[in-house]
Symmetry: C2
Subunit: 82 residues, 2 copies
Amino acid sequence: MATFMDVHHGMSGITEEQLRAAHQADLAIEGDEGVHFQQAWADPESGTVYCLSTAPSKEAVQRVHERSGHPADEIHPVPLMV
Amino acid sequence: MATFMDVHHGMSGITEEQLRAAHQADLAIEGDEGVHFQQAWADPESGTVYCLSTAPSKEAVQRVHERSGHPADEIHPVPLMV
């Protein structure tokens, strides 16, 4: 298992409710891929969303996000943490 | 106080020791600006570092990072969190 930070652009105006709904949609199916989305942060002004997850691969992270209807624009493994 | 995610590019090959040293340098002076850096994640392959902080402003976050010798390329307020 590795840790990933993924980034979504173009989410300008996202609300807390929408962020929560997107996160819940991920949580509902993440087990199918062995992924766990730990936390998500959103900047509604620039339309940027960051998601932190643990997963077997970046492809697994993307499969969950795609099935939930919000594919990530970038997915970075973040093996270093402090 | 608000929450910020800042991003550094061009950090290819960063090591755990370097990430820790950079974070410690921030922690040593963050109090001057009322900032607190909570966590940082690094992808040595793409050279991307993400820092999560609480701070009075994005300018305060940048002042700490600048004084520590590693200005951020992007700083996003992230008022939404889940």
